[in-house]
Point group: D2
């Protein structure tokens, strides 16, 4: 951490700032420049010290040199995290494909979609049971029953399942039915939810807030890791920019950036990241080419009549299958393994009834 | 609502789109243009119709002509909403000033600050008992005890109180102690929280999400109104832009825009909106000049040592008092009433013990 | 300037970085931290040194402590710049009002508008003779003839004139006819134009690029100042954000921020900054309350039929006059002088024929 | 085009709006809705009609249904534009690679880099002779001499050349030496420059303004096309967002979006789009996977000592060659042709001395 003083600051003021630093149990190292004085801080400071120092008179700026997250940082965990869920490995050189509808609508719907996801080579079935809606008059989801329908479809067809959890109270029931819990973009800084997810071991797919920086994103992951749950995946799903033609701007640079800063797997969501069906396929390929550890894609058998209105960004089943065929050829070029015909892992067979 | 077709669309396809519209119980009105056909929809459509139509083949765009919110709209409620809390009136031509620390730290601290807020002419005491923190290792607040300290300070000095509520479970306990409940920027679309707040009558100050459009903001307010709580204030507190010198970019156009679109009072937060003490005063004045119905301002007796690190944006007590003196002169120029020497309302005296 | 090394960097690598720094004729000051080493640079470095160091192996970041602009900075010029043009003073505690149409359309139009601007208490007549248009098929302005019409109207009614200049070749002809030259938002980083403006003494109103940071804005001003022209005004005119309801987001914090960082006058443009007539008045008042040294406002006698289509943001003459009456009362509250009835300065009378 | 009225508008007012529309020589088609009336406009209206109507009393909004650009639109030119330059084909199913330094520094430097670009399989040599610099004290380029050095290097090694042109006066001299002229991000709406480029036939690579929408980008291309030059390539090079870790946010969705809206080739610039060397390779691959028709990449033999400071984003020669090898395998998966060993086209041999 570095403290930069204002140009006019007196020697006494500097001495007072130094005193405050040393009171915090760390060492101050003063460099007098032409205009400003710079005070370096050496040692492990309390997390609030930066904020405290920034408030002091005579301080122009406080710059953190070390990152504010530790457990999420590659500095302290150089190897890739690989999360093994019933034999499906997420992270490292594996490419994982999650597919399914925005919302579970009925047992027949989710069963048929699960069959198609599996046939195409996907490993995880996605589907929402509770829907956050930006207007109070929209479809809100089918609830716990939907969780059960999805679990049955996943077990029948040999797919893991992922579903969104929106409040701490629903974490346990969702974790009972799904293999992966998804935190939506609007909940990335719902700290109560993050803390609750830190107390369990179920893998979490944490979506980037649509206006969150990489630093804020990794700090949100740190909340879950710090609670004791090491099984976190990061998901880039588009950010808000001035461009409104696409629903969001899918920030693919996030993939190599996050993989550089962190050891956690990075998943891309080209469906929500673009909001337009015709862009899903090129952006899915681009995500894999950029190094993504996986994709989460909306697919629907009848997108024109999806209940959530997200059909506009859902692939048709044949588009989904065609895309996975292309990804099978693309993956090895970027050092990833993906096989649409792969036998399901043994653990899977045991688990599947 | 208007449906715009793709250029190449056939007559049969148009007929199918029209059939879907009429199935929804509304009337379709077809205009064939040079390139594209436009289908106007007349009547009260279900809220999901737009999303459904956008998914159809041959549809290029669906444009909503009417707003998606009703209760929050001035179209349906032309007069200003004025919320009366123990005789303090918020909305219309009243200017209300809310002041206090970011976080309640001790009984003595909040009592002294309450005294200073009242002496300067403020009407509401602000203070956080639970703090949302972007990193897992920061100060998290003093909890329920803080609510009690703040209520006592408010009652003693004749001030209303406002505090942030972050989860549905805390709504009741917060409402028991505070006169106004604040929803923070990260919770603007926490729909469970909004729904819970719709079930009570305690006034709510809803902060704009830092990346939310006016439309999303008013839809969030609609959630609370639709639940049955008409006492909602909107609060502009800065949005995220490419400029990082200020913590946020305080969007003062939001004040006249929201007052035009809605009848709800609009409060400005120049403290969080700038994140820098030296900007609070000019932006507070600018907010009132733009027509704000009130301000919420951080003030601290010892900002250099505030526990949250938000001291960097807190005014000193004399700055706060000087600002209110200036606002007293500024208010009448923009048709607002504000009197730093005003006797407390009678209802207040009754209520105050 | 501070160099921050990567965590893993060796002592030899640090020695090489230090050698590169000392080769540049400045002193290096090494502080070894727990994770990273910080190298402070003391002395006046060449402007390209930061970029050079950032490229070196082992360097994680280079942070500039001093600002990249000097002539525009208040650090080196503590008193406000006041530009005196024929007795009209811009900067310091003066409030200057510039009004007029987006484009000069005819001699009669500009004469009538000049009369109204003067009658309302304005000091400067604005009007465009050449229009930058975002589409190739739009109205492009009336050219040099328009400059003459505007000058005549200004002289007749005792107003200074301001017009936009878009290319270096037009600087001389525009400077011959107008008292102030305006650089539009899209030209803020047109370095050839800035350099040319540095070679004359005619005052320049430099508009902020709609996606430019404060730092970039002040560096653009520095270009003109470095060329030898000290008469520069900064103009906040709205930035591009995710919100599209307003044409731009008028960033009023820019006013106190720029006045803190720089000694140059800061003008606000609430017309282009909002793009909506009903917002001009509140945002004009807010600008003055935030401390603006002046305003530039579009006013038109027949906005419904303006040739540029910017009528949608132009005030009617009576709105303009009413606004100036209010500003006369508002100005003294924020320490500014403005008098709608003020006699024109003597220099003006001489100059006026 | 559609006009939407305000809710309260009278029948007379509607009749007046209709009269204004018919006066413009087009047909009005009135649909009365529950709240608002919608007036459709049928026929080819003058480009300024929308702006005119938006200014009228009683009008709430005017929505353009047809696009404001025609020549750039795929609606009117369904097949891909393929630009043939001395036998190198840009557009359609060809992948073109442009590589070279940010700035030409010396004849020896550019010759050596040209050799390496050719050896790696690139077809175009990039290099700047004039540099736009955001601060007035930075390196400004070597000028016309640099153009000559680059042309000689290109001819010797069998590469096309591309260089940036910044003002209309330099168009002719640049076109004399280079095969492709580049318009930089800050000049995307420099309309004088665009108009001048419309008068020649030299191909133009137009970079997206870093805060420009797709619509503005295509309108800028329209300027050049409308002038008579059909040889335009669009270049995505990153937009400004709230994220500052990367210099810009490379918006890869722009590639399929622009290819859908327009027939012009789309090139990606992962060097400026990220500003960090370690991100160039993954984002180059992602660009091709998203369907880009080409890439423009900075490569330097000694990036640590580049004169512009852009070395931080330049690839080393072996990284560049390795990337092109990977692209050779990736291209066919997305239907593109790219061969690092391809014999130079015959036309090239003739032209090369």
């Amino acid at each position: 951490m570095i403290v930069i003083t204002q140009p006019s600051v007196t020697d006494e003021r500097i001495a007072e700032i130094v005193a405050q630093i040393e009171q915090a149990g760390v060492t101050a190292h003063v460099s007098r420049g032409t205009d400003r004085t710079v005070i370096g801080i050496i040692g492990q400071a309390a997390p609030t010290l930066a904020e405290h120092l920034r408030q002091l008179k005579g301080v122009e700026n406080v710059i953190k040199i070390s990152k504010s997250y530790k457990l999420a940082s590659r500095d302290f965990h150089p190897e890739d995290t690989v999360i093994d869920i019933k034999g499906v490995r997420i992270g490292g050189d594996n490419l994982v494909i999650m597919g399914g509808p925005c919302a579970v609508e009925s047992a027949a719907q989710i069963d048929e979609i699960a069959r198609l996801v599996k046939a195409a080579g996907g490993q995880v079935l996605r589907g929402g049971a509770f829907k956050p809606r930006t207007g109070p008059y929209s479809f809100q989801g089918v609830g716990v029953e939907g969780l059960q329908m999805m679990r049955e479809a996943g077990e029948k067809h040999g797919l893991l399942t992922i579903t969104e959890v929106m409040t701490p109270e629903y974490v346990d029931i969702c974790a009972e039915h799904a293999d992966i819990l998804q935190v939506g973009t609007r909940n990335m800084q719902n700290f109560d939810l993050l803390r609750k997810l830190g107390t369990i071991q179920t893998p979490v797919l944490l979506k980037r807030g649509f206006s969150s920086t990489y630093d804020e994103f990794l700090n949100a992951a740190e909340y879950i890791l710090a609670g004791g749950n090491p099984n976190v995946m990061l998901c880039e799903r588009g950010i808000r920019t001035f461009e409104t033609y696409t629903r969001n701007t899918l920030d693919l640079s996030a993939i190599p950036v996050l993989q550089g800063l962190s050891h956690l797997p990075v998943i891309s969501d080209p469906s929500h990241g673009t909001g337009r069906r015709e862009l899903v396929e090129p952006m899915a390929k681009a995500s894999v080419a950029a190094g993504a550890n996986g994709l989460i894609i909306e697919m629907h058998t009848d997108p024109d009549n999806s209940m959530t209105g997200d059909g506009v960004q859902s692939l048709f089943p044949d588009q989904f299958a065609g895309l996975l065929k292309d990804l099978e050829r693309l993956a090895p070029i970027v050092g990833k393994k993906f096989d649409t015909k792969k036998e399901q892992p043994e653990a899977f067979a045991v688990w599947q009834r």
